[in-house]
Symmetry: C2
């Protein structure tokens, strides 16, 4: 298990998603009860540092404080006024629904049982329910793990729409550095939809898994003394060989998102963090700066490193629900949003084994499409981060969590029930 290897929560992958949970997660314990990082100095056994920040329960602190442990780049909101989010509160906390186990459960119980730090529900753009727990504050940026990928995918899809990036071109058109790697004969489209065949195993029970190489190269995992591996993510990518047939099927691989972010920066000649600021944070009237972890070469972790507040993510979800417009301006083209909303190839999705936790889903431009009756789609990060957009119910849900297990299998079936219950609660309301 991740925890046994001392990696804990800092791995940005859909780890174990394909396997059913073998062990129950540890009991939920809150930061107030833990008393981590309280006092001056905090007592030694209450400190969170690089030796324990990925372990549970310290990880519950880390996910709200990554910047205090790691090098980061800011994603500036600029000096524009904050775009107002009006409130129209509905009493959803005690609303009951039927769990994936067939048992009655309330929204609040769902939040507690899935180690939730923040939840924001928008209906028609208004905040109908909002909750912060576990010391999370409205102004706290939270580590988003693979939700990061979906921002990289959005920016890439817009570049493709603008004709600045050719999805059918080979990756090497933009990144000749990857000629000798798995990406040497892969198309950009295969990167965007994660159907490129690269040997990159995210199996935490196997220390030979390439995910450890990624974690060490990126700085997510502390390097042992005498470490001789890749010094940064891009140098690590060059080492990964092809394994299989490109385009055959979807396999979830964080390294594809790093390649896609590299392409975006190469095409625009801009840092990912600056693009995020210029294209989203400055235009949308965000309330707080966001930030992204960087590796030792200053490259943002474009597949795993974004941190933002719940309400700012709600603004992103609402922008998508509105077809790419927000705060009085175009953020992305309607066609870009429509392409994501429609989703990807559901047959190819079955290839990688992710479907055990996400039956019927597909993956397109680094977004998950649910293919349910409401046409919902979402960005998702391990340990329970979500931007969930439900067009038909006119609903956006942001959920930020610090679940101890790096596996959707522990919670996703229940969370799907919660999405449906919340949609039914707001549906057809004025």
């Amino acid at each position: 298990m991740a925890g046994a290897l001392g990696l804990g929560g800092l791995l940005p992958a859909a780890a174990l998603a394909q396997t059913a949970p073998a062990l129950p997660p540890p009991a939920s314990v809150t930061l107030d009860a833990l008393g981590l990082m309280q006092g001056f100095l905090p007592p030694p056994d209450k400190r969170v540092d690089l030796s324990n920040s990925g372990k549970y329960p310290q990880m519950r602190w880390t996910l709200q404080h990554l910047r205090e442990l790691k090098p980061t780049q800011s994603i500036r909101r600029g000096n524009q006024p904050v775009s107002a989010l009006t409130e129209a509160t509905l009493p959803l906390g005690d609303m009951q629904f039927v769990s994936d186990k067939g048992q009655p459960i309330t929204v609040n119980q769902w939040l507690d049982s899935t180690y939730t730090d923040a939840l924001v529900v928008l209906h028609k753009g208004k905040v109908v329910f909002e909750r912060y727990q576990n010391q999370m504050q409205p102004a706290s940026p939270h580590l988003l793990f693979s939700v990061t990928k979906s921002f990289t995918g959005l920016m890439a899809a817009q570049l493709a729409h603008d004709g600045k990036l050719d999805p059918e071109a080979l990756v090497t058109k933009y990144l000749p550095e990857l000629a000798s790697s798995a990406w040497g004969d892969m198309t950009v489209r295969q990167v965007m939809d994660m159907t490129g065949a690269v040997r990159f195993r995210e199996v935490y029970t196997d220390p030979t898994s390439e995910v450890f190489g990624y974690s060490l190269a990126s700085g997510l995992m502390e390097r042992p003394p005498g470490y001789q591996g890749a010094a940064n993510v891009y140098d690590f990518l060059k080492t990964l060989p092809k394994e299989g047939t490109h385009g055959e099927g979807f396999v979830y691989r964080t390294v594809h998102s790093e390649v896609l972010g590299w392409i975006v920066s190469r095409v625009t000649n801009r840092r990912w963090s600056d693009l995020m600021s210029e294209q989203l944070w400055q235009k949308m009237g965000m309330q707080e700066d966001a930030y992204v972890m960087v590796d030792s070469a200053g490259t943002p972790l474009q597949g795993a490193g974004l941190n933002a507040t719940a309400r700012d993510l709600a603004r992103v979800g609402e922008m998508l629900r509105l077809g790419g417009r927000f705060n009085g301006q175009k953020i992305f083209d309607q066609a870009v949003v429509d392409d994501i909303r429609k989703g990807g190839d559901r047959e190819k999705f079955k290839f990688g084994g992710i479907q055990a936790a996400r039956p019927g889903y597909s993956y397109r431009n680094q977004w998950w499409a649910l293919h349910n009756a409401d046409g919902a789609y979402e960005a998702a990060g391990i340990h329970g981060q979500f931007i969930h957009v439900n067009p038909k119910a006119e609903m956006v849900v942001i959920k930020l969590s610090s679940h101890p297990m790096a596996a959707a299998a522990y919670t996703h079936a229940l969370t799907l029930k919660a999405w449906a219950a919340l949609a039914d609660a707001v549906r057809d309301k004025p």
Copy 2:
């Protein structure tokens, strides 16, 4: 020299200030010419990372990008509107004055020769001159080194004014942890004014200097393999013995500022970064979040780690010039500002040898008083950072630099001439 030991610019001390320059500094080279951290990936010889970030010329990049290398805490500006700074430009760049060597020099030449990244001059609160160089942007936070101390001193002085901190009490009243150290029989006032006698040598030519212990404990300097020293700043402070007589004279010691920051947090039960946000950044309508580097226990470097933009620092200078009020509210009490403006004991100041670069100065509450005819006072950081307040000329100057040498002796005599020339240029203007 600092550079020879690989420390370069990351030491927050008045190093070498007491000795005359032995060697000329390296020729000024700008980031545009260097091409550091450009491209995706930057070429290996163009990267700035923990192995070279303190060396010149990489240090010129580091001082504008510390957060991309180190763990930090944000100092939030909040969601208030930015307090406007109106402009009334004066053509000061080509204005000539007589240097400390008796030679004519223009303001622009002074800026270039002292490796300046940003200069902002306010007269009566209006921006009369502003320059950004070396890739510095108006939104770029710059590492301020010992300017940090002056913020710690302001907060401590306000607490004393409010009766929440007794300057005449022993340090151990607030920090019993320091009973066995030099601070065991030292008063808070002696900490505030740096007249406490502690063995802490800041001599960069001597590897046994305690400044190296501070740099390793704080994380400013990379730890060698097998490092067994203090894991954080506060644990390091406990190891420092008394040497001499408390109160006898001023000796500039960064560790006093760390003790003072610790006292401030103990008294308020708040993190330094949160106090900075609540007392200054949120109230003053700052334009950007500031940030502070933290050690591995999450303690801000309260003597060296602050990063902020030039204009936000100009707002601080103007607030002081106005007696503690800014943006329509009280930030500090007039009496607190007056106490700093009046300065400290000029006889005790001569004790420590700093006076070679700063003749006639004194030090009070972590601020430098010039005792010139204009009643000027300033915060100063090594490598050339300043908040310079000239009450009589109604002028505030912010200078942010990345001078290769950690020594005021290289530049301060010239900078004093520049202060005077700028004051004369704006004096009696409408």
